[in-house]
Amino acid sequence: MKLLTHNFLTSRCLKGVNVGYPLKIVLGHVGELPQALIEDYESNEDFLKKVHHVLLEVDVINGELVCPESGRKFPITSGIPNMLLNEDEV
């Protein structure tokens, strides 16, 4: 799973969860991006390359995503997050 894909995922479908974003990645890889958004982020090629690397080249293979509100875990197996919910969760 690319981090770009992770950026889309939420647990808001869960009953009682309002935002459900961002899902915490357990065992994830942290890229070397600056803590705060830099000013020329749209044109700074070096920065954009790093963003591209983090979003599209880092691959999470096994681990889990954790809902920030409910703590519900979504397993990632062989790079594919399982976002299926049980009927009693929605």
């Binding site: 894909t5 647990s11 808001r12 479908c13 599209l56 080249e57 790079g79 594919i80 997050p81 399982n82």
Partner: protein, 210 residues
């Protein structure tokens, strides 16, 4: 690589593995899009794939995602409910050394988080025709139209054309067009079919936002 020839694309797609032995699961309407059909489909819409953000709904083993990647999409995300099909998807991506596709396991009908809305330029799919799960085809179209910014391309039985087009015409801002009529050879793995395989006519339907 949108300069690629139709024949060549078809040859590549012949190497995409289908559902695991024993065929797909009947209740989920798991039959792959055959290489020729998939190649005709994708090649005719290549200008809406190259350099685009693409979603593949009910991606199964991933022939449409692989084809979209070969045609130069920027990123393709598959959505699929079945873990076994996703195992094959992952294997196919590895075989082809494709690194700009991903998949998530979720229910396309009612289970796609709303953050995905309008995140994709183009959505492609070969949805369940709704013969097992009634109305599944229409629910897939609705999901596709939520995700797509510009175009949704989908395969439908020609016999349901009236139904599908009138449904789309009733949606504000959506225009619908049958862009190709194709033949689909459904395999014999479906025991309720009397013959070994059966040819059905399918439409490649384009739904666009004006």
């Amino acid at each position: 690589m949108s300069g690629i020839k139709l024949k060549q694309l078809e040859q590549w797609l012949q190497q995409v593995d289908g559902f695991d032995e024993g065929g797909g699961k009947v209740d989920l309407e798991q039959y792959t899009t055959p290489p020729h059909l998939a190649a005709c489909f994708l090649h005719s819409v290549r200008h809406h794939l190259e350099g685009k953000m693409v979603a593949d709904l009910g991606c199964g083993p991933g022939v449409l995602s692989v084809g979209a990647a070969i045609l130069g999409c920027h990123y393709c995300l598959g959505f699929e409910i079945d873990a076994d099909a996703l195992d094959v998807y992952r294997r196919n991506l590895d075989e082809f050394e494709i690194s700009n596709c991903d998949a998530i396991q979720c229910d396309v009908i009612g289970g796609i988080p709303s953050r995905f809305d309008k995140c994709f330029d183009t959505v492609v799919m070969n949805p369940p025709f709704g013969t097992r799960q009634s109305g599944a085809d229409v629910k897939f179209v609705e999901a596709g139209l939520r995700l797509a910014r510009s175009h949704l391309y989908s395969l439908h039985k020609t016999s349901t054309r009236k139904h599908i087009t009138s449904l789309a015409n009733a949606m504000p801002g959506v225009s619908v067009k049958v862009v190709a009529e194709l033949r689909y050879n459904l395999p014999h793995t479906y025991k309720f079919h009397k013959r070994d395989s059966v040819d059905i006519n399918v439409d490649l339907v384009r739904f666009s936002y004006e």
